[in-house]
Amino acid sequence: MNLLLMLLPSLPLVLGTAALAGRLGRNSAGGGVIGTCVVALLVVLLEPSDLHLSWLLLGTTLALDEVSRVLLFCAALLWPAATLAAGGLFEGRDGRRFGMCWLFTLSGNLGMLLSQDLASFYLCFAVMTFSAYGLVVHKANHEAWYAGRIYLILAIGGESLLLAGIFLLAAEAGNPTVADIPQVFAALDRPALAGGLLLTGFAVKMGVIPLHVWLPLAHPAAPVPASAVLSGLLVKGGLIGWLRFLPSDTEPLQLAADILLLLGFAGAFLAALAGCLQQRPKTVLAYSTISQMGLLTVPVALLLGGRLDPVTAMPVIALFAGHHVLAKGALFLAVDHWPGARWRRLVTVLLALTIAGLPISGGLLAKAALKSTLIEPLPLLVTLSSITTSLLLLRALQRLRETASDQPPPDTLATWSWVILAIAAVSLPWALADGDVRSYAMAASGLIDASWPIALAGLIVLLGARHLRFTIAEGDILAPIERLVRRMLESVNRLRDQLGLERAQAALEQGHRRAADGKDRLLGLLERDLPEQLVTLLLIGLLLLLGILLIAGG
């Protein structure tokens, strides 16, 4: 039965290979993904025991834990919805490629949720990252290529840091599983170094500022369904990595945890503000993801710093992350639904507001749960962040309205799956949250806490939106950094020209030729003017010499 676990990453792989062979149309792609997700739901329900395969890679362990169980459930809802929405992308000239990348990303994503040992987690993480590149650049225009390049640079940088951290860890313990991590860190010579490397490596995926720059570029560049899974599920890879391979409450990681906490809040607010100054709705949504992930970073940082015990933290993290998967995924898919009937727009608005923490929505429960774990004055900050979140999402809705195209809305199947997704987003937290949180959310104080930031944000938008002229480029800090790098590269190239490797080589060759000419002339001279008399003289001289030598020795 636990072989079901193995089926999850491998089934999409087979499908992906079929896609490469050109044997996967849109129907079978949808069918295949739905099938895979049914298996995933089965796994979530049946909770199979751990699967250990020593022959696979460096020894693979697959299992579910508290957070990944929730995320797997959410993934099983989001992936089919996104796949159905992507229908047409599986066909046409680039359909094979898209199908392959899509299914490999799915495989990596599901595998990442399941793998409990370092090597196979890194494997799935990498498969997911590199296949997703194909989704980012799918549109094959300059914008997409640029976004893809930035995505790759950050991804490879992150993977390198991860690899370094992994080496340090694995040198101690071979291929450690999650259960070994505390002992491994206790035994390390440089736990802070290893921990810091892993922390930073995974932070790239989570979009922790200042490593977030790929997100606002990649999301608008990618096709809508790809943005949905990118924002909903891929970024969670960093979260899972943190939770699995960093120990909680370790002295050497204290400083790192504090920095992470700071960056988390900074991300939550700054990204929201930067997002408000964006033009395209998908970019705004991408900034929303950065902001939300900033909030999600907070409990993780507290967990690492030992200020929160895992028993209380894990359910909260699972709840918040799961809600974000569903809501943000659905919201991205909504970009295609917006031009359609009015009810579609209503659902979209609802989705936006649930992320902002609308009373009785799942989003409120997620934020409430988050707040319940925090110590003062952090809950206040979370409440304040609701204002910026609301602002950001209102901005997104505004831009959606202003830029809407007149494409036909997605087909029935895609629509229904989207609606299911939206319902799940609103209701799932109710199933997961504990009683305290539920009663807080239903209580008057909770409702007020939830309502006033949204109201305030609405007011600000009504008053201020018209006066907003100022915008910043997508990827905010990227532009200046890029200018700097470009200038550095130019100087390197200039240096290269000045050093003149090519010229040196040419000069060397010329020197060779000259030497050869001179040699020929010399030899010619020798040969012409070496008459036989000279040889005869030499001969006699040698004879004498020999004799003398022999005398000397004899």
Partner: protein, 494 residues
């Protein structure tokens, strides 16, 4: 054990030597018969190697000893290390033979090509099974000679220049190697390869001479292993036909050099002595410099095969690096890379050959959109390239994993920096190729499906999936990794 069974290394050697002789004797006529002989020889060799592999696993001894000069024997033996190299070569020879038959269909001088091709593999078998430095040298030089006609096979001026460069480097290297061997022979008498080395007690009495000899030996081998700055021949030799490049880079020549370095460090000097002489660090630094330098040079190459060639310069030094770090984990990484690099690089060169043969593509910027026309070839190229970068679950990841662990265990954290830099540089020169192939629109209007012929695609798929499988199933008992772990265990606990 019967004598014939014990003499298995000799039969393995002869299987391709005889094939070469018969092919030469047949001449240009009767291509069908020649193809039959070629394939039969490759298959027979594979079977023999398989038998030998089982035998070595079961602890049987395979050794043939023929007196050659007074006091000097020609020794062919199969130990675990030989088997690593020999299995790789035998397997890839079969793939390359099939590929070459398809690649050279209807081109002139095929008898000459396949004759020297077989000879080349015979020399490789000799190198793999050589039981002492003298025997090693014999086959090492034979390899040089047998490869030259392959490098210049096209007979163009450019090929001739490449051939001349190849000869200058390798014969010079051979001369240096010979000096080292003669000196060693004078100092210590005939020495068979023995795990742990045989020179330990002499290390104290003659440290200086031994250091000099070590330098000579490594320089001699380093030419073939393309250690910078001795790598100059390799990028120019890429003018050879694709199967030859595959042979040079993956199966025979470069590997022979790397294998020689492994032999010298493990079985002549022994790790302890190498470290005591301070040569392990020198070798590690030389390898690291080569790794970085090769990758840097690769970035600026616009010709596909040239870029791959510089990549080889960089990748092969992983083997030397692993050996030089002198601890079990790094050794596993280095040795297993002997196989892994071979599989990945042969995939890449096969793909380059497919591109060249099917659509006349040589330069990287002609690759735009080729993934649409040749999805399978491009998929295999992707596997090879990602493996070179060191992404799981491909072969390169396993090598890098153990090298990294070894570096940490040896306390040489700077090596991690080298590995990471290499990863990033590999990404810098491979990913743009993948990007072009998959995501750029093709330059020509015609972008219908046009895959390479089966004879080319089959071996490419085989090699690509093998590169995947050895990584994916590294943990299983029959993977190269398992074999290397066994081997290293023996080496470190004599």
């Amino acid at each position: 054990m019967s004598l014939a069974y014990q003499a298995m290394p000799l039969w393995v050697l002869l299987s391709s030597l005889l094939a070469a002789a018969v092919i030469f004797a047949l001449g240009e006529g009767r291509p069908r018969l020649r193809i039959g002989i070629n394939l039969a020889a490759a298959l027979i060799k594979l079977v023999l190697v398989g038998i030998m592999l089982l035998g070595v696993r079961a602890g049987h001894e395979f050794i043939v000893r023929l007196p050659l000069m007074p006091g000097i024997d020609l020794v062919l033996q199969a130990d675990a290390l030989s088997m690593l190299f020999i299995s790789l070569s035998a397997l890839l020879w079969l793939a390359t033979t099939i590929y070459a038959i398809a690649y050279l269909e209807d081109s002139p001088n095929r008898a000459r090509f396949f004759g020297f091709f077989s000879l080349c593999v015979a020399a490789t078998m000799g190198i793999a099974t050589a039981g002492n430095l003298f025997t090693f040298f014999i086959f090492y030089e034979m390899l040089t000679l047998a490869t030259w006609p392959l490098v210049i096979h096209r007979g163009t001026q450019q090929a001739m220049r490449a051939g001349r460069g190849y000869l200058c480097y390798t014969l010079g290297g051979g001369a240096v190697l010979l000096l080292g061997i003669v000196l060693l022979h004078g100092l210590a008498g005939p020495q068979d390869f023995v795990a742990g080395g045989t020179l330990v007690e002499r290390g104290e009495s003659h440290p200086l001479v031994l250091t000099l000899i070590f330098a000579l030996l490594i320089t001699g081998m380093g030419v073939k292993a393309a250690l910078a700055p001795l790598h100059g021949w390799l990028p120019t030799a890429m003018v050879a036909p694709a199967p030859v490049s595959a042979l040079l880079h993956a199966v025979a020549v470069v590997k022979a050099g790397a294998f020689g370095i492994v032999r010298v460090v493990y079985d002549v000097y022994g790790i302890e002595l190498t470290q005591a002489l301070g040569m392990a660090e020198v070798l590690a630094i030389a390898a690291s410099v080569t790794i970085i330098y090769g990758s840097l040079r690769a970035i600026w190459q616009t010709d596909l095969k040239r870029r791959l060639a510089y990549s080889t310069v960089s990748q092969v030094s992983y083997i030397a690096l692993g050996v030089a770090l002198a601890n079990p984990l790094a050794s596993i990484g280095g040795l297993v890379h002997l196989v892994h690099q071979g599989l990945m690089k042969i995939t890449l060169f096969f793909c380059a050959g497919c591109y060249a043969e099917t659509h006349g593509i040589h330069s990287i910027d002609e690759l735009d959109g080729i993934g649409r026309r040749m999805p399978w070839t491009t998929a295999m190229f992707t596997l090879g390239a990602l493996g070179m970068i060191g992404l799981p679950p491909l072969a390169g990841f396993i090598s890098k994993w153990y090298l990294g662990l070894g570096a940490v265990a040896a306390g040489q954290l700077w090596v991690i920096g080298v590995l990471l830099a290499s990863t990033v540089l590999n990404a810098i020169y491979f990913l743009p190729i993948l990007h072009r192939a998959w995501f750029r629109p093709p330059k020509q209007a015609d972008d219908s499906l046009a895959e390479a012929p089966v004879g080319l695609l089959g071996p490419t798929l085989f090699a690509g999936f093998a590169a995947l499988a050895v990584g994916l199933f590294a943990g299983s008992g029959w993977s190269p990794l398992a074999w290397v772990e066994l081997l290293v265990q023996r080496e470190y606990s004599p």
